[in-house]
Symmetry: C2
Subunit: 474 residues, 2 copies
């Protein structure tokens, strides 16, 4: 009975986004900007009520949720601003050229069109910013794609409230029926990944979950782009120079980055290379504990920390199945180099592996075997010396974002942001899931050859805004 009902709901949702694809694709960028601004306004107005629901479902603090909701409306408005200013109108025009050296060239005009309905798997740890109205939805809608949300089971009531609000806001703003739809349940999510009407997928979550859905998408008769943001241990290298200069500052920065949002951030520093573990522990301030999102996340934290305990010694805190107090492990760089998977054991929560080294050369060598990362950080001198600069260059070979004397949490949403990286950080290393460039995940290039203005998209027409246009009409 439930299954039949779920199947019906899924079919209705898929049909809705499929029917919305063409009108959404043909809407003007400025029109879509208006939709996103109205969604942001409605979210602002509903703020307090939404935060109350989110607190009950996620254990996140009010301050954190207020901040996250502000980020959510900010990013909707940022995409709206970029749509209004034409930032996503990336065109290339090669006029006909009889003298083109490889042979006469026809008129070629290249633009980007929406890929079609996008399925979005929302995340547990950011109920707003990676939720129903989060970055994937906003970037897909900005691209001109309808969105089918797979709600996260960690915050069902919030997802429903957000869905009602956003769908209503889109309708008020004049978006096509079906520009947003939502389903719940793992089976519905899996079925949607395989459905021919879905043309791309965005996912934020665990490697096991992301990989299973990625495999489903790749095994379709027609594989589609699958953008999963999954696992990262976000290595941090503390060089001898920085450690000598400012140990207390570094230890305090680590403590704050480790325990912020109870360590439940995809950019949490989970691996730290440092020259003196004992001295580091002496400098550490109090590491505050906080409840995790839900029992599922707590189980995962216990499982992954217990696994790490079989590989590395505990030097702070202790294993516990009942709560998630901060815990730190210790190994050395020779071990990490011999067993590079140690650098890849994500513990989602307030846990990290400290890797002691003697000479920075050892770190430079070890990171050649580093799995793909969202971020990598170096704490060095005021200015990088040649070896520190080499470290930065090598970390860039493995990560989407490389930081200097800074901590990876607190991801800013901007144009130049990059939140992605080689597998297992993501399944699509050439894209970002945060920042305005995430829109390109959902836009497909099309070139028009010898095409008259009457059948060209507006941005490719010859006579748009041309001073000679009026004269030619005469």
């Amino acid at each position: 009975m439930t299954t039949t009902r779920s199947t019906e709901i899924l079919e209705t949702a898929l049909d809705a986004v499929a029917r919305a694809a063409r009108p959404t694709a043909r809407s003007a960028a400025a029109t879509r900007a208006g939709w996103l601004r109205h969604v942001a306004d409605r979210l602002d107005r509903a703020g307090g009520d939404l935060i109350t629901i989110a607190r009950a479902e996620t254990h996140l603090t009010e301050a954190r949720l207020v901040n996250e909701l502000r980020r959510t409306t900010f990013q909707a408005r940022l995409f709206a601003d970029r749509l209004s200013s034409g930032s996503f109108d990336r065109v290339l025009i090669d006029p006909a050229d009889g003298d083109w050296p490889m042979g006469a060239r026809p008129d070629l005009r290249r633009t980007f069109i929406p890929i079609g309905p996008v399925l979005v798997f929302t995340a547990s740890n950011f109920p707003f910013a990676f939720g129903v109205a989060g970055g994937d939805m906003v970037s897909a809608l900005a691209a001109g794609c309808p969105v089918l949300i797979k709600a996260h089971p960690g915050h069902p009531e919030l997802s429903r409230a957000l869905y009602r609000l956003v769908a209503d806001a889109l309708a008020e703003a004049g978006a096509p029926d079906g520009a947003l739809a939502m389903v719940e349940g793992e089976d519905s999510g899996r079925a949607a990944v395989r459905d021919a009407r879905i043309r791309a997928v965005g996912f934020t979550g665990s490697t096991s979950g992301g990989r299973a859905l990625f495999d489903l998408a790749m095994s379709r008769p027609d594989p589609i782009p699958f953008y999963a943001e999954m696992s990262s241990t976000n290595p941090v290298v503390i060089t001898p120079r920085s450690w000598a200069a400012r140990p207390a500052e570094i230890a305090a920065g680590f403590a704050a980055s480790l325990t912020g949002s109870a360590g439940q951030l995809c950019t949490k520093p989970g691996v730290v290379f440092l020259p003196d573990v004992g001295g580091f522990l002496d400098q550490l301030p109090n590491l505050s504990a906080a409840p995790l999102l839900n029992d599922h996340i707590l189980d995962g934290f216990h499982r992954t920390t217990s696994n790490m305990a079989t590989r590395a010694g505990i030097v702070f805190g202790e294993l516990s199945a009942r709560d998630a107090a901060p815990i730190l492990f210790r190994t050395n760089v020779a071990e990490a180099q011999a067993n590079p998977d140690l650098m890849d054991l994500e513990m989602f929560g307030p846990a990290a592996l400290l890797i002691e080294y003697t000479h920075l050369d050892q770190v430079v060598d070890a990171i050649d075997q580093l799995p793909g990362q969202l971020t990598a950080s170096v704490h060095g001198g005021d200015q990088p010396d040649p070896q520190e600069a080499e470290l930065v260059a090598r970390l860039a070979e493995h990560a989407g974002r490389v930081l200097w004397n800074d901590w990876p949490t607190g991801l800013s949403v901007t144009d130049a942001q990059q939140h992605g990286g080689p597998y297992p950080a993501t399944t699509a290393p050439l894209s970002t899931s945060v920042g305005t460039q995430s829109v390109w995940r959902f836009l497909r290039p099309v070139t028009f050859q010898n095409m008259p203005d009457e059948a060209l998209p507006e941005g490719l027409r010859r006579n748009r805004n041309s001073p000679s246009f009026a004269e030619e009409q005469v």
Copy 2:
């Protein structure tokens, strides 16, 4: 014995490209431009000898091969020019901003870095332009990636001659050892797809071959980008207006496009919607026959045309296992709409399916079920009327390139070119395999946060070419 030898050769090749990855990535764009220009110069000098080898192995005409070699050197020089002029330096810079609305923003600088060693499966039908020195190699090397070529078995001697020449030219020009390597044999190709040292794959060939290798790449512990350009029937719609206005011109254009290179082009018009099949056949000029590339291709032509003969009537030519004379099939739009796979049966060689319709509305409806295509063309009036414009817009939903009153063969290599499309045209609909934009397949975004100039890639430094730079040194 052979297997052991192949395994050794493969291991040597993989080791070579892996060792070349860092020096190739760190070479300056202008330096790589020099490598490509020297390769083009050497190809020009060797021209006649190479063409003699190619003629013996491919049955292609001298004129066609001369033209193709010119295209090959042209595209190497085009990428060199774009490298020299900085066209691929796509950077985004967000300076630190304490007033950024979502919270103080750090300094963020985004650029693209090479993805690492690229494996290239060369094509049968373009021994030069999609061969050892072809577009995939040139775009990967332009991006800063070493290239491992999997030679095509259809032209082994030419592949070896090209490999010797290009590897030698690269060495002369100062490229790192291992910037180019080559292996032969299916087993080596499959093993290379799964090897951790390979970071992306380019492929041009059949859907069956491409899909099998794609599946291998996706099943890696760490899946990697896989760019396969595979199958396309390149539908052409001849509208009633165009047919009434210029039947002889259209029939002649079709005949030339169908039989050029004996129909062995990925952009060959294989499906034609037209209002009057009988009249079209009456207008057709002589369709010239030519030998196919090799017996393997001839077998495929016989198999696919025999398959089509079970689904549609033959209206020109006849089935033959011994040669590949042009052959045309006929069905109607109701059949195509009821069986959309009819629009997806690629026959590699001089064959096409003519689909008769009565009203253009029927075509507009049928193409909603069109599988992904490299190209789609409309022959209409001098200027598109509203229905023809709608047809163009709908074809763009399914194809990478849409043409007006033009034929899809004779692909020009330019900046605005797009050679790609939704599956099964390619496995990566957001990319192109022809034209300068193909370089982006092999470049990965990286953002540097709070990074001093000393550890930034040159294009991201604050003081590059700044008038104040010298003063600041004082």
